[in-house]
């Protein structure tokens, strides 16, 4: 082969190796889903409009859950900001839902939760703010259901975002302040959608396929 041809091939291979490594460097770390061992125990909460929310509402949907309280000064604003980002990201995917469970039910009445929801731009059923008048019920749900410590509430609430699969089993925990949170969450949910294809059918059938502007 001619010398220039060899040089060209080597150059192309070099450039492609470079792009491969850059793309890999830019990628988020691999996401490992947990085995679906623990399903949430029976629970009955109410949303910000007083409507019941139970285990049945987890079925057939992927759920991102978090524990917050609206007066919270430190972690919650960031947690809710991240969740709002995800909520917007999945606007065309009705089978991905978000639940924020208050650990301060005495202060976080339905009205307060409604205001908090509005503040974060919630306009539909995909993000719900849940409460139970008895704090102990929340503590039990958090510790025995979500397997996270809940001490000295409300300030001591867990700050993880928990991903539940379409059967209501815990599949992943993410740190709210992980730099890659959005990216790893996307990856985890996409993985789960492969496992539970029913969650993506709606998005597909919605059929409002428009060209980009």
């Amino acid at each position: 082969m001619k010398k220039w041809a060899i040089t060209a091939v080597v150059a192309v291979i070099g450039l492609m190796m470079m792009s491969l490594s850059v793309i890999q460097l830019a990628q988020v770390p691999e996401v490992k889903l947990l085995e679906p061992l623990q399903t949430l125990p029976e629970f009955e909460l109410t949303d910000q409009f007083g409507r019941p929310f139970t285990n049945a509402d987890l079925k057939g949907k992927l759920t991102v859950a978090e524990f917050i309280f609206t007066r919270c000064p430190s972690a919650c604003p960031v947690m809710s900001r991240r969740t709002a980002e995800l909520y917007n990201l999945y606007e065309n995917t009705p089978k991905v839902q978000f639940i924020s469970i208050t650990v301060d039910p005495d202060y976080d009445t339905e009205e307060v939760l409604q205001r908090y929801a509005k503040m974060h731009g919630v306009t539909d059923e995909r993000w719900k703010f849940l409460r139970h008048p008895n704090l102990q019920t929340i503590v039990d749900l958090c510790e025995k259901g979500f397997l996270m410590a809940a001490e000295k509430l409300p300030a001591g609430h867990p700050t993880k975002l928990v991903v539940l699969d379409a059967r209501g089993a815990i599949r992943a925990y993410f740190d709210y302040n992980d730099v890659n949170l959005i990216a790893v969450m996307k990856l985890a949910l996409r993985r789960l959608a492969e496992e539970f294809p029913e969650v993506k059918t709606v998005a597909k059938l919605s059929g409002e396929f428009k060209r980009p502007n």
Binding site: K2, L15, M16, S19, L20, V22, I23, L25, A26, L62, R82, L89, Y90, N92, T93, K95, V96, N177, V179, L181, K186, L189, R190, A193, E194, V199, K200, A203, K204, F209, R211, P212, N213
Partner: protein, 325 residues
């Protein structure tokens, strides 16, 4: 003007074309790795001339949760290489003004390339400011291809000055066919950018779906791109082989034709693999970069033939003058 001035100019033009191709590669990398907004501002990056490499260096007004140093530096590399290419073209235009002020065919496209590369830098800013508006991103790529084609035009004019014997014996009209191929390749690239835009739009709109679901949704434009691409590759192979067989092309020109054929075929295979394998990113970079190489090769092919035809016309005219004499 001296032979040496032409050689220097030609060498500089070759270096410039190589630099532009490296830039197009980096640009494709920016696009595919999603680094387009790696720097939220322009021309500086996070308000700095040397962008941050870690979260600690990030100025306080920026959200550390959106900062990814790799993407930031990929985007910044695109800008740095862009500046270098701009300087290359500036020098080229300077050389053209100094040494080829009377050669309109070298002077004008050199200066045009300089103006367009400045416009291209401004367009790069608009890409960032417009939050990666699909039309602007596509325009940014197409502009790069126009610039590289202009540079190849300049390069081929300089080459002709040193190599007045021309490239081959060809009947005229052959170059027109190849010019048609060049336009067809540009159209195919525009179609390809539409496929890419659609997939990107889908991935933003439906993050739960996977690559194959997106491809399924983008089927209409995808089929158009593949069908047209297959026809185009067929045309390049057919026309190229015919010319290689029927005309005595110079070694240089026949290498150019063979490379065009090879790239067209590689593109066809890579295109099919992209669909089969779920659009792996490195392959996307490769596919896009090869297409810009094809633009350059087909342009060179066209200009080589055109030079040869002109030379032939001169020969014909000369011989008819001899005959009448």
């Amino acid at each position: 003007m001296s032979e040496r001035a032409v050689i220097t100019f030609q060498k500089w033009a070759i270096a410039t074309v190589f630099a532009v191709y490296f830039l197009i590669f980096v640009g494709g990398l920016v696009r595919v790795s999603g680094a387009g907004l790696g720097c939220p501002d322009w021309p500086r990056c996070y308000g700095m001339w040397i962008p941050p490499t870690s979260v600690e260096q990030l100025p306080p007004q920026y959200d550390p949760l959106t900062f990814n140093p790799v993407l930031t530096w990929v985007e910044y590399l695109n800008r740095l290489v862009g500046v270098v290419v701009g300087l290359f073209i500036l020098v080229l235009a300077g050389l053209a003004i100094r040494n080829f002020a009377k050669q309109v065919k070298i002077l004008v496209p050199s200066i045009a390339a300089l103006i367009l590369v400045a416009f291209q830098a401004w367009l790069g800013k608009i890409v960032v400011v417009s939050d990666l508006h699909p039309f602007i991103v596509t325009l940014h790529l197409m502009m790069a291809l126009v610039i590289v084609s202009l540079l190849i035009y300049v390069l081929m004019q300089a080459r002709q000055m040193r190599n007045p014997e021309g490239e081959c014996t060809v009947e005229s009209k052959q170059s027109k066919i190849v010019l048609g191929l060049w336009i067809a390749v540009m159209l195919q690239i525009a179609l390809g950018t539409q496929v890419r835009e659609t997939l990107e739009w889908l991935s933003r709109k439906y993050p739960l779906l996977n690559e194959f679901d997106w491809l399924e949704q983008a089927r209409a434009i995808g089929i158009l791109h593949s069908a047209y691409g297959t026809l185009l590759a067929g045309a390049i192979v057919g026309i190229g082989r015919k010319q290689l067989k029927e005309h005595q092309l110079s070694p240089f020109l026949s290498d150019v034709v063979k490379c065009s054929i090879a790239i067209a075929l590689v593109q066809l295979v890579v295109g099919m693999l992209l669909v089969k394998l779920g659009i792996p990113q490195t392959m996307q970079v490769f596919h896009q970069w090869m297409s810009s190489l094809l633009v350059g090769f087909v342009m060179t092919w066209f200009l080589g033939l055109k030079a040869a035809e002109k030379k032939q016309m001169r020969v014909v005219q000369l011989s008819s003058v001899e005959l009448t004499a």
